[in-house]
Amino acid sequence: MNSPSNAESGPGSATPATTTPSEAGASDPGYNNAATRPFYWSVWRELWENRSIYIAPLAVAVVVLFGFMISTYGMPERRRGVLLMDPAKQRALIGEPYDVAAMMLIFTVFIVGVFYCLDALYGERRDRSILFWKSLPVSDLTTVLSKASIPLLILPLVTFVIIVATQFVMLLWSSVVLLTSGLAGTTWTRFNLLEQSLILLYSLIALALWHAPIYGWLLLVSGWARRATFLWAVIPLLAITIFETITFNTTHFIRMLGHRLTGFAAEAFDFQGQHNPDIHSLSQLTPGRYLSTPDLWIGLAVAAAFIFAAVRLRRYRGPI
């Protein structure tokens, strides 16, 4: 138990105006100090507060599984037909439900991330709990970074785990359905879970990096707006687009936004001249090209600027 024995003797021995003690337990003489992990616990705070982070993707996964299970009615006959086609077509058709499941979950988590960011620095001001959070020795930087880590780190991780688990269950189910026809192994050979999981991991990381400025913008708006955060996030972008069209008759801004939503794929993957987004082999991943794309780094710099501004805003903004 901490004993608040104070080795300082009174008003004479002043607490020095310190330079920069680290957040983890710098000590004044005479006080017990436990080691602290402000960032770790701040991330936990976000998870406790926003259970949709894992509940929403889980709910969608359940729906996907349910739908898949129903769709496997009559699967053995369809599979026999598919196996007569060329290997590329087989891969595409057999892997389709898995890719669809993955994309639906990625889309869901993107929406979760957007709404999370819009509320991140707004909710605590609206319910005045910011006065409690600020009464604890956690810096604004740590708090904002812990919030930024949700769409950039935690959500991709959660998505990855849920997608792989879902696909695994789908594989098991399809094996059970095909067991009596002796075709159980055909799904596993055409949809290589290990390879696909690695591709998925790469995609999620690439996507998170590419979308970073979007999340940064939403965090900034949530830290600034006093109400209607969604409107404040969207309407300025709309206004710029319209202004540009009317004044210059160009569409650079809206195309830049569209590129920022979907443009990572062209740089992160090698589609080998095909038009469908079917990445089936690790050899199609192009991390080198991706990391040397200037747009990636510009986006990250913009994200950093937005986050820095959000940190400053949190310092200045009090409860609404």
Binding site: N6, W44, K134, V138
Partner: protein, 286 residues
């Protein structure tokens, strides 16, 4: 070194002057009560002290500039801003985990011991607790933090009398020792009268009165004047007079005790009476 030291502390919101260059000094081990009407600047002053708002002028709290070093300062300072600021979605156990994980001077066992005296369950969410229980929970957390300065901004607002009494009793008996400093603002002036060591009245951004409770008791006298002595009493220039059940109760500043005792029953004034007297007094120059 004083716990809090301010010189020319000033805060302006647009055209409103919330704090008009106040000077303030709070020594270690004191319990200061800041009393003032709504809009007087109490919360602004506390916000400046807690690093929640920028300001002009000089202000040091425990040797640090609160605006620039808030997160370091919060290791040594705890505060309760208001009865209702604990996040409503959080569970008691999560709250304990979080504070234990981020505050180097939080004693979890102590907090749990305080909570054991209440009916608050570990698994409850804050939204399931009554207002009084939320106040008890927040106080339990704050008292388990080994802070040098505790700031309480209207901590008992809206609580019933049982909780309010318990609040100050716990604070004095289980928390306060001569090395800790407490600053309280409250409208419930009567209940802090016996708790405070120092008193400050603030009105329209300026300090109107500042004294220790000892000074307060020796300087101000309240007299229930016998009807036949009313004129003589008025000649001694009381700072306030009010009728109570047909008799005159007068408040004197710096009057001679024997002289005044001859006029009627002398007693210690309440802070509330002094407050009303000073607030109603015409400003200098009018």
């Amino acid at each position: 070194m004083a716990t809090i030291e301010a010189r020319g502390l000033r805060k302006v919101f647009g055209t409103t002057i919330a704090l008009d260059g106040i000077n303030l000094r709070v020594e270690e081990g004191r319990i200061l009560g800041i009393i003032g009407p709504n809009g007087a600047g109490k919360t602004t002053a506390l916000s400046a002290i807690l690093g929640l708002t920028s300001y002009e002028g000089q202000l040091t709290v425990l040797g640090r500039d609160p605006w620039n070093a808030r997160d370091q300062l919060m290791r040594d300072v705890s505060f309760i801003a208001d009865v209702a600021v604990l996040p409503r979605w959080i569970r008691v156990s999560q709250l304990l985990d979080y504070v234990a994980g981020v505050h180097p001077r939080f004693d979890r066992a102590k907090a749990e011991a305080f909570l054991a005296k209440t009916i608050i369950k570990r698994t409850s969410k804050v939204r399931q607790l009554s207002k009084g229980m939320v106040a008890q929970l927040h106080l339990a957390l704050v008292m388990a933090i080994d802070a040098k300065l505790l700031v309480l901004d209207e901590p008992t607002l809206g609580l019933d009398i049982l909780y309010r009494k318990q609040f100050y009793d716990s604070l004095l008996n289980d928390y306060f020792d001569k090395t800790r400093t407490i600053v309280v603002t409250t409208h419930q002036v009567e209940e802090v009268q016996d708790v405070l060591t120092d008193l400050m009245f603030i009105d329209r951004g300026s300090i109107v009165l500042e004294c220790s409770m000892e000074e307060f008791e020796s300087r101000y006298l309240e007299v229930m004047v016998n009807p036949e002595h009313v004129a003589a009493a008025r000649a001694l220039k009381p700072i306030h007079e009010r009728p109570v059940f047909g008799r005159s109760v007068m408040l004197f500043d710096g009057a001679n005790r024997e002289q005044v005792a001859a006029l009627g029953e002398v007693r210690r004034p309440s802070i509330a009476d002094l407050f009303v007297a000073i607030m109603r007094r015409p400003k200098d120059g009018q």
